[in-house]
């Protein structure tokens, strides 16, 4: 009998919404490995991988020997250099935790739009005075010649990449020409083996800067 009960699925759903798919996946894999080692990570992958392919990819990386993601934000900071505003689409807690303290004077704003239930006040409270939120209908207020737009990518292959569906709501022809830099930060670093449920395909050419983990 599996040591991972069905509640693990709803637990991952909660975590994925508020921490981000990739951050939640690393958290789960780390905790499960601490409890039951690689066999339990394999079990987790089998149990939830199809439903959450990012978790599948991260578990795969773990089983291949990788123990933590590369979250160095330097390339993203370089891509945002000179920007006074940064609009972030999508949540990845581990990566935002690394990036936001280094932004200096650049004001970061998170788009409050998700397919998952999210307590946005709690998300912002984790980044005291470094992050605020904006509704989809108001994102133009953050546009401008010194504004940058950032989203997280979940693997890139050729001209295709996979993004939070909110990105498709944001990235129209109008918005593309209203932000100086459009940065895609590949937090997964590999292409998903399974159907990328929860995510949407977007052309890599949407981005003025592609940053790979």
């Amino acid at each position: 009998m599996s040591r991972l009960g069905p509640a693990v699925a709803s637990a991952f759903h909660v975590a994925a919404g508020e921490l981000g798919m990739c951050s939640a996946a690393w958290l789960f894999v780390r905790e499960v490995a601490a409890e039951g080692g690689e066999p339990l990570v394999s079990e987790l992958r089998d149990l939830l991988g199809r439903a959450y392919p990012v978790l599948d990819a991260v578990a795969g990386r773990w089983l291949e020997g990788s123990r933590e993601p590369k979250v160095g934000p330097d390339s993203v900071l370089a891509a945002c250099e000179g920007a006074s505003r940064l609009l972030v689409v999508g949540i990845e807690a581990m990566f935002l935790d690394a990036l936001l303290p280094k932004l200096g004077q650049t004001r970061a704003t998170l788009l409050a739009h998700s397919s998952f239930p999210v307590d946005w006040e709690r998300v912002v409270a984790n980044h005291e005075r470094r992050l605020e939120t904006v509704e989809l209908s108001s994102l133009h207020r953050l546009a401008g010649r010194r504004s940058a737009l950032l989203t997280f990518l979940y693997g890139t292959r050729g001209e295709s990449t996979w993004v939070d569906p909110a990105w498709l709501r944001v990235m129209g022809a109008d918005v593309r020409t209203q932000f100086r830099s459009i940065v895609g930060w590949d937090v997964l670093g590999s292409v998903m083996y399974l159907y990328p449920r929860w995510l949407s395909e977007a052309p890599a050419s949407d981005f003025s800067h592609l940053v790979r983990a």
Binding site: A143, G144, R145, S147, R180, S208
Partner: protein
């Protein structure tokens, strides 16, 4: 019954993309937009946005004007008021100076066609700066080049 004529054969869009030399336009615009990140933004709007034929046409016209500029050893005007190019933000949004692209063109060049402050000149500015940035920014870039050429040619004031 007569058969409809076969559709006109178009060149593949890759053929357009292949002749666009971003480096050339980047170097050309450096005289008006010194900051690299700003220039990258303008280049993206002029050469990477909108229908492929616009991108290609923008490249051709700007390149040729650049050649003319080099041949004439002309340089950008250093003084006089300039016209900023606004972003096409929703009308109720005002983000101040940030709502304009980092490229503007000299107003003086339009005085050859209409007096400063006249309704005609304002209408010209409206025509040149309206529309998506592959139009408005390309217009602004070309006006910068044309203005420098006219200055160099010694045409003087109208």
């Amino acid at each position: 019954m007569a058969q409809p004529p076969p559709p006109r054969r178009h060149l593949p869009s890759s053929a357009i993309a292949s002749f666009i030399d971003r480096e050339r336009i980047d170097k050309l615009l450096a005289r008006w937009v010194p900051e690299a990140a700003d220039r990258a933004f303008v280049l993206r709007c002029v050469l990477d946005e909108g229908p492929a034929h616009h991108r290609g046409a923008n490249f051709v016209l700007l390149s040729l004007l650049g050649q003319l500029l080099d041949a004439a050893k002309a340089s950008p005007e250093s003084q006089g008021p300039s016209v900023p190019v606004p972003m096409r933000l929703p009308p109720h949004i005002d983000v101040g100076e940030d709502g304009f692209y980092p490229l503007s063109f000299p107003r003086k060049v339009l005085e050859r066609l209409a007096p400063a402050g006249s309704a005609a000149q304002e209408a010209m500015i409206d025509c040149l700066t309206d529309g998506p940035p592959q139009h408005s920014l390309a217009n602004a870039a070309m006006l910068c080049l044309i203005s420098a050429l006219l200055e160099r040619s010694g045409g003087g004031a109208p």
